[in-house]
């Protein structure tokens, strides 16, 4: 008894110590980040900043809707869509094989290898599989914009560079996700097939693929949405499309055109969202049921019985449209002026990679990286904090369960109050969606107008976008808090605030922490590229060194970014596993 009490005490003591240490570390990190990101809240309230922002806002209206400019916008939007489609398809082509090879249950462990003699080939295959996984991790860790900048220099300006950048970057994302999906399937069918003497490829086609197909399709669609977003901003570094036009109009001080372009951008994203939601819904509604054999018989049966049914004609029509869109996309992305089959394309890329070797590691160069590295970390931390603040502030009025009156109170409140509450809710939701639909890179350009070039503009830009993302996630988490404990609290007469503090908060906290940490990981990646458009940090160093042709330094910088992202992911995983309690 005594023993247990002492252990308990020691455990508590250790927990307190841990909490104190974590809190101290956090405070230190924030102070450090504050300094590195050169946070100057006063800069917002300087008369000149306010005047510049007002000028900018006035310049936005009315948006330029002249026919000439709309034509430019239309072409740019088309090019962005083309880049996104071509990029997504290429990323599947690269990502799927790599993902299969990287699947550990196929090549490294699990039922397939259980009975196998461990020969040289097994060993070799495991090595290749591991290498594929590492490659995917690398492709994923280097931000898409950075790939864009590299491809712009390696293969030339324009859509081709954009599509290739997306292809490489999202191949990393997709390949990793595919591998994870393949690994998480039910192992019993694999085992059963393996026992019948099926080869590895047969096991994959008959057992792994059917189980993972829905998840693979869902993730691929999601990745297409991300590609669309990324394609729009890739233009900033010269890869064509809407981003290119935004940066041009920004340079020309044609803010009215900027507004038109931003509206077009938001419309484009909304349409993409709607399109992929539609596809997903159809997919779910028609999800295959029963076994593979059953499905095949059915499929064969319907063909035999109905012959050429209306449905079949429809499907063929859809397929033809798809081919046309895809072909058009590749055409518009510049693949058809011989460049896809152009032997010199590979040669040029090879030459470029060759020029990057070996990465420069001179002491003076490495020393010069310390400051931008810390700046990047500082920007990501401060950006996330600003985002948390904005998100938390807007999440409360955007939480339906908090802002609307509970059913049993319906009669007690006046109609005007209900209207006011609905108004506040709608306002908060609209602001949140506006904040998150404008990408960080566009926010940076606007923040530069307000607070000048540098890390502070970068931190605020990340904060604004993150605020929109986190606000929505926070609100949804709060809304989804299980109802029963809240009901119990309310029945004791607890007021709204008390319900929030004692009912919703404890239930929602782990999710809130997890979302925030995840977002910080994303923001770190973003803060490495903000410098490409003037937001400070490592991006600036990469941009300058590419511009000056110091490719061996660029190689070092990319490795630094890679190490930074891997480290952050690792820390993030730890934080999410054991949220600081």
């Amino acid at each position: 008894m005594n023993e247990i009490a002492r252990a308990d005490y020691r455990g508590q003591h250790r927990a307190t110590l841990r909490r104190t240490l974590i809190a101290a570390a956090l405070v230190a990190l924030i102070i450090f980040s504050w300094q590195m990101a050169e946070i100057r809240p006063a800069a917002f309230f300087a008369a000149d900043s306010i005047a510049a922002v007002i000028d900018f806002l006035k310049g936005l209206f009315p948006p330029d809707l002249s026919t000439d400019f709309l034509r430019i916008v239309f072409v740019a939007a088309g090019r962005t869509v083309a880049i996104a489609i071509a990029g997504t398809l290429l990323s599947i082509i690269i990502g799927l094989p790599l993902g299969v090879i990287a699947t550990s249950t196929l090549f490294r462990r699990g039922v397939l290898l259980a009975g196998e003699r461990r020969g040289v080939s097994t060993f070799l295959l495991a090595g290749v599989s591991r290498a594929a996984r590492a490659l995917l991790g690398f492709l994923r860790a280097v931000p898409d914009l950075m790939w864009g900048l590299l491809f712009v220099v390696a293969v030339g300006l324009g859509s081709l560079a954009g599509a290739l950048a997306l292809a490489v970057s999202y191949a990393g994302v997709l390949g990793r996700v595919y591998a994870d999906v393949f690994e998480s399937v039910d192992a019993r069918p694999l085992e059963a097939l393996h026992a019948t003497g099926a080869t590895r490829s047969q096991v994959f086609v008959r057992a792994v693929w059917p189980q993972s197909k829905p998840a693979v399709i869902a993730y691929t669609l999601y990745s297409f949405e991300c590609c669309m977003r990324a394609a729009s901003v890739l233009g900033f570094i010269g890869a064509g499309g809407i981003g290119y036009e935004i940066s041009l109009s920004m340079r020309l001080f044609r803010y009215d055109q900027v507004l038109t372009l931003i509206i077009a951008f938001i419309l484009l994203l909304t349409a993409t969202d709607a399109f992929s939601r539609y596809l997903r819904r159809r997919l779910r509604a028609n999800a295959p049921q029963g076994t593979l054999a059953h499905e095949r018989v059915n499929g064969l049966g319907s063909v035999l019985i109905t012959g050429i049914s209306l449905e079949r004609v429809m499907n063929i029509a859809i397929a033809i449209t798809a081919i046309a869109i895809v072909t058009g996309s590749f055409y518009a992305s510049g693949f058809f002026d011989g460049s896809l089959m152009d032997a010199t394309l590979l040669q040029r890329m090879g030459r470029f990679v060759g020029a990057m070797m070996p990465p420069e590691v001179s002491a003076s160069f490495l020393r010069s990286l310390v400051e931008p590295l810390f700046q990047t970390i500082g920007i990501s931390v401060m950006g996330t904090l600003i985002g948390m603040a904005i998100g938390a502030l807007l999440a409360l009025p955007a939480t339906a369960t908090l802002i609307f009156i509970e059913k049993d109170e319906a009669g007690k409140r006046s109609r005007t109050e209900r209207a006011a509450r609905r108004g506040i809710y709608t306002f908060a939701r609209t602001v949140l969606s506006l904040l998150r639909s404008i990408p960080e890179l566009v926010w940076v350009l606007m923040c530069i107008i307000a607070v000048g070039l540098g890390p502070f503009a970068g931190a605020v830009a990340i904060g604004l976008h993150t605020g929109g993302v986190l606000g929505k996630l926070y609100a949804e988490t709060l809304e989804e808090a299980p109802e029963n404990p809240l009901e119990a609290l309310r029945s004791t007469g607890a007021r709204r605030v008390q319900v929030l503090v004692w009912g919703i908060w404890p239930q929602a906290r782990p999710m809130l922490v997890s979302y925030t940490v995840l977002r910080w990981e994303t923001n770190l990646r973003v803060s490495t590229v903000l410098g490409l458009v003037g937001g400070g940090g490592l991006g600036q160093a990469i941009y300058n060194n590419i511009q000056l042709g110091f490719y061996t330094r660029v190689a070092t910088l990319i490795l630094v970014v890679y190490a930074l992202v891997v480290t952050t992911d690792w820390i993030g995983d730890r934080l999410r596993e054991r949220p600081a309690s």
């Binding site: 509604a285 859809i318 030459r351 470029f352 540098g454």
Partner: protein, 291 residues
Amino acid sequence: MTRTPPILFLRFFALILIAVFLLAAGCNKSAKPLTLRLSMIPNTDPGRIVRESQSLVSYLERETGAKVELTVPTNYAAVVEAIANDQVDIAYFGGFTYVQASERAGVRPLIQRERDQNFHSLFITQSDSPINSLEDLKGRTFAFGDVNSTSGHLMPEYFMRQSNVDAEVIAKAVYMGSHDATALAVANKKVDAGAMDEAIYQRMTSEGKLDQSKVRVFYTTPPFFDYVWAARKGLDSKLTDAFSNAFLKLDPENAEHEQLLEFLSATKYIRAEDSDYDKLRQAARDAGLMK
């Protein structure tokens, strides 16, 4: 169980790809007519160059007899790389990018505007600022343009070093990315001072983009060589001659020519010499901006 379109889509994936690749192979253009691929780095006004370049293109097509393709990149390094890879035939470089391209790709200079032989950078600050000379920059924040810009970075930095401006000012300077951005940052007091292209300063003030009551010039650099059109190594000399002549014969008395000259912010074109850029080369090496 019927096949749904999305799944069908995936089923057709392979087919689509085959179609695309076949098309791509089929579209490999063979025996194009003589094409001159030009690239113009938008030092002055990218949007205008992109959106108003048609008259220049048709003039050059007439004069050279070749089909002219003009690209307007926003990235200096990409042009240097493209001309090294024979993807661009003739490009318009700033002085510093010309020097980089001549080192890396062996480009040859062709022609330039008369004013490019006698170019200056301007150092600007706010009208009410206490800064009156380069020495006063100590302890102040300073803005350059793009890191690759001759008049926005290389030469201003060179003359700052020559005048022994505090090294901290240069080390802490920000790179705005463009001359316009530098001008605006100074006007809006985001930085204490900045260096920019004189031609762009003149354009911005005359067009009212830059409020002259807000900024003033406190130092003008000695003259240096800047912008130049240069051809890639191995380009047919008949083409380069035709190209150069088309520019050399531009005459402000001629109405069509006058419009082109106005578009190019030029009065007269003259031949360019590589040796004129030796001083610039040295400046770039001294500043560690070129190996």
